[in-house]
Amino acid sequence: MKLKKSLIIPDFTKSPSIDQVGIIERATRFQTRSIKNESKIQALKMVLSMIDLTTLEGKDTIGKVNQMCYKAQHLHDEYAGLPTVAAVCVYPSMVGIAKAAVKGSGVKVASVSTAFPSGQAPLSTKLDDTKFALDQGADEIDMVISRGKYHQGEYNFVFDEIAEIKALCGAQARLKVILETGEIGTLDDVRRASDIAIYAGADFIKTSTGKIGSAASIPVTLTMLYAIKDYYHKTGNMIGMKPAGGISTSKLAIHYLVMVKEILGDAWLSNKWFRFGASSLANDVLLQLEKQRTGNYQSKDYISID
């Protein structure tokens, strides 16, 4: 009988340490790469195809969600051959609406869950929350981890919670695990939380909810990419990455792609493995694409806001 290779869960207190000065230095190097001409156009289109177009507000309505879902499929029809975004990201209550609105377009519907954004709810509530989103047809679940438990040192609790949600997602939905790095603390903690999420079954690790001041940054994302890389070396399994919040310009987005390419390789350069959680990024990319095509920057009034 062939023995199945089992995954050894590491001791998370021994996650690799991170030198912040070194990380920032490396991060700066990506930002000095100069991306021009055809490689810039290719990158801009790639960025569009990787966006999770997001609305996560208390005031979300059917109308708002429908508008966003249309935009997801028709970013800028004046420019032929543009991709759609990767997914729309909404609250569980809006999953059904979004699902119907993007039907047949290939755009996925992602739902935040597990008492997003704080995660301060009992596991049963988190499971119900997730189950509802799945029943509504969510293709992807963006869960938050219990940062309070993490800071109490209860890594097993955090791990088990992720594993339970993962089990619920089963084959239907890919699981993105939000670390909320702005609350997690140092880069050492970002690395440890990444390891916990990955070994517990995350398909994607994601930086932030976008609901607190501190969101995605290149150094934080770089730290998470190293965790993904180490896991890939060890197991051969790819994990996706989603920086979210604070990425609103094309230039910054392209530097994220440079980083992904140089740390993980070209294999990660698709929306199966890399996403941007962003709402205003798409329009800046569209402005840049028009600039590349026409040589002029256009007024923002030529690009729809939703």
Binding site: S17, G22, R33, S34, K36, S39, Q42, H233, K272
Partner: protein
């Protein structure tokens, strides 16, 4: 665990060429010596070619110096010292240095492009490191010019006189700044010789000095090969020699000046140990090792050319090193995305190739990144030899190229012993998460500079210099002032 196979698309995203424009630079066809504030034809009437190592094309003709040119320069420098520079209030001297610093900043782009054209180093480095640091050195020493008695309380510092300075080809403008700025701040005048393969930025600096209005003869620049250097070293009218270059030449200089009153500082070769412990932040250590050896194509006297990695993490560490090497971009030095440029000269290329062949013959495991090299120009792939023996020439001799020799170790004492087991002692690196380990090593490693969890960091406030055959005397910081002063 059910494994859902997710197919990956074949995506290839390459960076398009992003060359820095060279249209804004101004290079003359022919450059003369800079003596007494004017450009003067060489008395030999001869010129030699300066070559772009990335294209093997000639850039300009450079004057070939001889003893007569050196004589003229020394007379000019002596004259300027006695009649102008020495008697000028120190605060006035400082103003000139500040002006030179600001002019370098203003012309930074032009200097960066010429540095890359002439020397082969990537524009990213000349733009972000060489030129800004050169300006920073002038700024820093300008500040000291009128505060020398506070730098050395109760010691009455005075200038030495005329200083002969001979600089290498690896950081042409930066080394000129390292030498000229403290010398002038301390009240000396200068006769400087750049390396023959990289004279251009020193000559552009001469133009800039002219523009700054620095009194004639305070800085004189004579171009040429080692013979001109020997003339400077042997000249009776020179009070001090400052040399950066090979240990071999350093020894000759020391022999020459041994019978004279000349003061000397020598900054020579190195074979630095970069030591990685198992508790180090691994990915940042990998990055540090890469920067330590492949920075400026390995043409760095303090390059971390010996990697000591703790045996318990050897495999993963070397795998990560190789992965990182694969992402280095080698090619046109003027492309903004180039990480590794051209080897400075054909003879250096042959030297490095000789060591790579030696490593192969000796049977060490060779790894080179799979990148394609440009068809023209002097290029070498980033190279790594693993399991190198301490007794191999690869681990003992300075290669001055992008070749890393990897060794393993087991204990702290063992690695200190091995790291110190070299005739050199310029620099070292330590990578560990444990502060006490850092302090233990920094106090026991016999090297002038020890970096902890970083490498190849330079700052005008920080002294730099070697132990043993890496030379003596310090450049940079307050220490760098005392090399250009005498005390009553």
């Amino acid at each position: 665990m059910s494994k859902k196979k997710i197919e990956t698309e074949k995506i290839s995203w390459e960076y398009a060429a992003a060359p820095e424009s060279a249209s804004h630079i101004d290079i003359k066809e022919k450059y003369d010596h800079f003596i007494d504030g004017k450009f003067e034809k060489p008395s030999s009437g001869k010129y030699f070619d300066s070559i772009n190592p990335a294209t093997e094309q000639k850039i300009a003709s450079i004057a070939e110096g001889n003893s007569k040119d050196v004589e003229k320069a020394v007379i000019a420098a002596r004259n300027a010292y006695d009649n102008v520079w020495l008697v000028m209030p120190a605060s006035e001297r400082a103003k000139y240095l500040f002006r030179i610093a600001r002019l370098i900043q203003e012309k930074a782009r032009e200097f960066a492009v010429i540095e890359s054209l002439d020397g082969g180093k990537p524009i990213r480095e000349s733009r972000d490191i060489d030129i800004p640091l050169a300006a920073a050195h002038f700024f820093y020493y300008a500040g000291w010019a009128d505060k020398l008695e506070y730098a050395f309380p109760n010691r009455k510092p005075t200038a030495l006189g005329v200083v002969g300075q001979i600089i290498p080809w690896n950081f042409p403008l930066l080394m000129a700044a390292w030498k000229i700025a403290p010398a002038l701040a301390c009240g000396n005048t200068v006769v400087l010789k750049p390396a023959e393969t990289t004279s251009l930025t020193a000559l552009k600096l001469a133009e800039l000095i002219q523009e700054s209005g620095l009194p004639d003869g305070v800085v004189n620049i004579i171009t040429g090969d080692g013979k001109v250097g020997a003339e400077i070293v042997g000249h009776k009218g020179i009070d001090k020699i400052a040399f950066t270059g090979s240990t071999e030449v350093g020894k000759i200089i020391q022999k020459t000046v041994a019978r004279t009153e000349k003061k000397v500082t020598l900054e020579l070769g190195g074979k630095a140990a970069n030591i990685v412990f198992e508790d180090a932040p691994i990915d940042q250590a990998v990055e540090g090792i890469i920067n330590g050896i492949y920075f400026n194509q390995g043409h760095v006297c303090c390059a971390g050319s010996r990697l000591f990695v703790q045996e318990s993490i050897k495999e993963i560490f070397i795998k990560k090193l190789k992965d990182r090497m694969e992402t280095l971009i080698i090619g046109n030095p003027l492309d903004k995305n180039t990480d590794i440029g051209a080897i400075n000269s054909k003879s250096q290329l042959e030297t490095i190739q000789g060591y790579i062949d030696l490593g192969k013959r000796e049977g060490f495991e060779l790894f080179q990144s799979s990148c394609k090299l440009p068809k023209e120009g002097y290029f070498i792939k980033p190279t790594l030899f693993s399991d190198v023996a301490q007794s191999s020439r690869l681990a003992k001799e300075e290669i001055f190229g992008p070749v890393l020799a990897v060794q393993t170790f087991r204990t702290v004492d063992e690695v200190i012993e091995k790291a110190n087991n070299t005739p050199y002692g310029l620099s070292a690196g330590v990578w560990t998460d444990k502060g006490s380990k850092i302090f233990n090593l920094t106090s026991r490693l016999r090297a002038g500079v020890v970096w902890a969890n970083t490498y190849n960091k330079f700052d005008p406030t920080s002294p730099f210099g070697g132990y043993k055959e890496s030379g003596f005397g310090r450049e940079g910081g307050i220490h760098g002032l005392s090399a250009y002063l005498k005390f009553d």
